[in-house]
Symmetry: D4
Subunit: 214 residues, 8 copies
């Protein structure tokens, strides 16, 4: 909050009651609230509330309440993901970015097993200061993008993988060891964290310097 | 190169002859060249060359040849480091950032064992889109900054530490697990990588300068 | 027992019958007994017993039988926790401390993402020889407290976290690598262990009360 | 400093000049200063200075300048170590404890391969609120002491060991997993940290509350 | 088989049909068969068969078919375990030892948190060439026994533990790093393996040399 | 030997005398011998011998004695390496392959930071059943080649890297987790192993079936 | 696809709808499709479809649609597995190999606890350029085969194991560290990957058949 | 000592003076003393002493003082090692076994890359209750011996290896995960520990000699 990021709740490990309380408090104050990592049960509970300004995304496992509408000239970020199994994390990044005031688009299925599919998107991707890349397995996509794009890459390793790649460890170490310059990393599956960093980077500083505590 | 980052050489594991060849080629072309991770022997060899446009920094272990002079209105980045043992990595970040066209300053000795020393620098740090934070041991500085600043943090964990913190592992996992939003990470001791990402984010590429918010 | 710590049973991996047997033996002897790490099934079973001197805490997953009432001048310990997800472990520490004869209070939600919330509690915390700090994720709270308080910190890393912070590993390595002096550590999620150590430190054993400084 | 712990410098990774500067500043202010983890070269350099109030301990690798003399009724701590290979770390703990105002004694060579040697010391050890235990290899000493003593154990795992016990990992995990209540842990080889925690625990709180910032 | 060890089946990951087939083949040949690591479902299935020479032990999760009756002068092994949570593994060792022709007894609940309980058993334990020790958590029992007994210890680390001790890792590294001479180790939870090694050690070699292949 | 692979000696950890003995025995029998992983001292010693049929390669750290001359129609393998730091391992693979009877060529400096340099080599690489790829850091090259080539890739992760990529761990896990089909892996820095496997794959089976033992 | 490998889908983490869509698209185009890692639910769903050209293998967890019929002179690969617990992975390799156009046979139950059972198969195995070996636990089979056979071994470590061998880690490190030449490795449980590599090696692509040795 | 094992000193990390003191004390008492893990400097120092009853073995890095002469009917143990790089550890086991009163022989160079060399030794090895097996790399030898011999195997993994096998980790996990029954393990490179366990097993203590089978 004090750093200019609107309130976001991490639902994992919270009871339905705790989530309810926080949501209702924001509903009453007409305040924006993003809730991430909802379980199917929590999701079902929120769905049954039929709150007017609440929208749910089951794939991304998040609930967005009174999400601010990004301005037409809001800064832009691109989210790129390697395969369909990475979609939940990629959508968490996408929807978080929009909640935090950015314009954002998603490009999917451009993993290294089919590099040629990436080429058509290069003109678009070249325009961005920051591209969020979401990939599991060996995470080769991070280095490939880092070697081709002028902007920085925020790598989100996903827990898609097995054996030595289980829980996203191989993808994470690829992101950190990348020999392409400009690859930054967040924790495994942390789509929200990537979007939050992008928002902190891209939002116009005048707004930021208005913030008395920051 | 293709992505707009000038040539940078990683000296570790290269022979003095190989480094010499690359340097001389750039000298002849009057081209800029940054060399990082020089060993004392490689450093001594370069020092003996007395090349006119080559400047050496033994602490940061790098050599900068025909570094471009940052424009007076070049974008700015701040480098913050926890203790004096983190200085070599912090200076690698600082000098790399300048080589890559940014204006950059260094604030040292603000680790969590003396948090009150950080306070006086907050007004300055609040002005930046991106702050590079360099810390070893348990890396608590990353979260403290992430919780206080409106811009994004690029955390550079250093290999300063011992026991479970040896080789920077504790600091790295702190950076990645930080519960403060907007903390991005590069590999342990990778001061150059942090600077390269900052430069890719902050430099106004033609296309980006068309973008009103960039 | 021989070391002055009343009987405590670790329920995990024990059958309902085994726990029943131990509890009934203590009931008959009117002896105090603390049972930790109860599963919901074990908890339900104990609840159905309706034993007069048994009190259950589902969040902390423990059952306290004939807990001794701490004397009004009993030594005091403070339990501080970073977020609501750390509450189960924090309450295990709190209730164990009371069972072991200490006066104990709990301060919650003072993690590093909102450091300013910690400030109001500093005058209280400064009065203690020992403060139990409970935190997951990157565990930056341990170092922050270690840098601000005159007493020792017993860090209890929790298994709250994911990716590189999964199972409490990042928080544990932060506690152990802390560059703030006076941070001691127990195993991940071991709230009872922190309370037991605090009790062994603070209780005035006859021999210790001979010691003018104790 | 603000937390009441006198200045302590960690020498590892500092240049002889940096250490010299700090030491001379304290010499001029007649202020106490403890320097730990000195290399043989740094040690030789300090030895050649022949400063009047500086005393060196090569085994413990530390230098103590104007160490305060513990009062006759100062609180006491015991340091126990498993074998002669653990002596450097045990002495770091011992001398640090004295520097920090405690009375402290060392009992050596009581490892589990010769448990009967421990028995004669039990009456003494039973008198302490806190016992610092220093052991490498498998660190069984921590649990043995935790099971026999009424006070808390501060375990200092040492890097003495090889194979799976290399760098102190087996001893550390033994300390953290101990099934004896009241075992607290610091980082591998961190004798100073154990002493600092003991000092923060044992010093009379009135002195602590005098500290304006604490 | 060729090495003189009767047939033993590891049930984990086998279908009920596969286990049935093997068992029936042995039933028809009136041959001994030990089946270990049975799941509750597999156990229930075998129980329903009501085979005359089959005896089941649910705690040890094994089924013994036509177990040979150890001779009155058969070699002896002792099984010692630290706590009740280690009982499943200890009984797997005990019953396997008997199946393999040894006389075997079990001593339970002599962990290091209550070392004095071990003393009464020392005269018995001193008589054995080989003692199987079963312990989880930090596994201090292995070193304590290794330091007190003239025979060799076969350490069986159990997966009883949490945090850094989860899955038996701390107990295993204690066994391997033990500074008491004569501690041998098998895999975590491998009670059968300990018994098999004891049988190979203790069985009279004349029988062994009769075996044409080994 | 029995499997048709000529004698190869791993020099690491052998004395100069031991290597000498083996070499002289082969010299007397006029038999081929490949020696890998020679230290500079061992290399210097072999150089001083001035044996007629011995050729040394200091970069690859190997010595080849009476290497068979590959037939003009011998099967071919390509070795591709990411950067100049990977050259020692790549040359070990190249020269081993030739020693084992293959025709082999080396393509260098085609890492993912400069993917476009790879394109010109694709027509050549497409002709091979097996391509040996040598890369350190994050090893993205393995997946890129696996996605582009019809033959199988034998990935040789190198120990070039630091931080999480130190000792080749990131490159190894990339190779094993690759989502491109047909990527096989050998141990870190094992250039010889890659060549030996290529030779076992590519040598015409008739020669193989002539070998009575295998 | 571009590399000549027919379409293969990795079902883990995909919804039944997504799998259905892909399958129906191939059904309509009469195109071959292999689906691996099907869960029992996905399997049941596909079974209920009663598609004419779809054949399911529950043990291998795969579905093969319009599998090409290998030519009578198609290249051959052998699959060897250590025990019955390794069968699911071994069959994934076997059926994938056939789907990819190879002739393939499976030899089971030749693990090192019964090495003599392997001998009878050596004449057959000696004929192959490539043998796929599937083993869990300690994976000694890989080295035994590598030491006996003239062809290369593709080791598939399986997740069969417990304790230090859990999740296939011991088998994987055995494969990678094998001191027998010619052992190549794929990820744990990756039977498909082994088959894909074998197919890329053995299939006579037009270009390769120009090559006299291929 | 109390457990019947004569005094043994672990030299690593001890000063030359400390070793000297212990040795001289034994020299004066004419008592046996084994010193293991001597550095070259310590070795040189002991060599210069020219003590009459001291014999040094530089390869095994040990010094044996007044070693007892094993009786002609002393129990026997065999030491088997995979390759010449394992010799230092194998000789530590061999000479320790003799010092501890066993008759002992060494068989070298029988690793799995040349399994047929093992066959000729099987008749001898079959006679032993206990065989000490010393191997690095992937340690397949342990399982091969466990599958062929009637006695138990004490596996000594060595630190011979690189990549994933570095520091003996692959060999250790092979020993622990072995699917051959009767494989026991000691720490990496712990030849002494294997011999000490063998001696504790095999020596006929009075009590054991009462036991008809022992
Ligand atoms: N939550 C807990 N975590 C760690 N140790 C515990 C816990 N609860 C009880 N204990 C210890 O475990 C011992 C009892 O173990 P048990 O005999 O298995 O019930 C007691 O002596 C306590 O010191
Ligand atoms: N041996 C040691 N281990 C861990 N921390 C230490 C040690 N010696 C000093 N310190 C801490 O390190 C801090 C000083 O770090 P520095 O400013 O880098 O000299 C002091 O505040 C001490 O708390
Ligand atoms: N069992 C498997 N293990 C590893 N990779 C597989 C497996 N099955 C299919 N694949 C690969 O995964 C790719 C398909 O991934 P997806 O697009 O997520 O279905 C294919 O190109 C295959 O190479
Ligand atoms: N190479 C060795 N590896 C492991 N333990 C050893 C070794 N040599 C001696 N020891 C053990 O270490 C103990 C002596 O340790 P110390 O008192 O430090 O010399 C003896 O009781 C031996 O059991
Ligand atoms: Mg990917
Ligand atoms: Mg820090
Ligand atoms: Mg926290
Ligand atoms: Mg010890
Ligand atoms: Mg125990
Ligand atoms: Mg690379
Ligand atoms: Mg196997
Ligand atoms: Mg071997």
């Amino acid at each position: 909050a004090r750093t200019g990021v609107p309130e976001v709740v991490f639902a994992e490990g919270k009871t339905v009651e705790q989530i309810d309380d926080i949501l209702m408090a924001h509903h009453e104050r007409s305040a924006p609230l993003l809730t991430t990592r909802l379980t199917p049960e929590q999701m079902a509970h929120l769905g049954a509330l039929t709150l007017p300004h609440l929208s749910l995304d089951p794939l991304a496992r998040l609930a967005s309440h009174r999400a601010p509408i990004p301005a037409a000239d809001a800064p832009e970020v691109a989210v790129v993901c390697a395969g369909t199994s990475d979609l939940p994390v990629a959508r968490e990044a996408l929807l978080s970015a929009r909640f935090l005031g950015l314009r954002a688009d998603l490009i999917c299925d451009v993993g290294v097993a089919g590099l040629w599919r990436l080429e058509q998107h290069l003109p678009t991707l070249t325009r961005h200061r920051v591209v969020i890349a979401v990939a599991g397995m060996e995470g080769a996509l991070f280095s490939v993008l880092g070697g081709l794009l002028p902007g920085a890459i925020i790598a989100v390793p996903t827990s898609v993988g097995y054996g030595v790649g289980a829980q996203g460890k191989a993808a994470l170490s690829s992101a950190l060891s990348s020999c392409a310059p400009g690859v930054l990393t967040v924790n495994i599956d942390n789509g929200f964290g990537a979007a939050a960093a992008a928002a902190k980077i891209l939002r116009p500083p005048q707004i930021q310097s208005d913030n008395p505590s920051g």
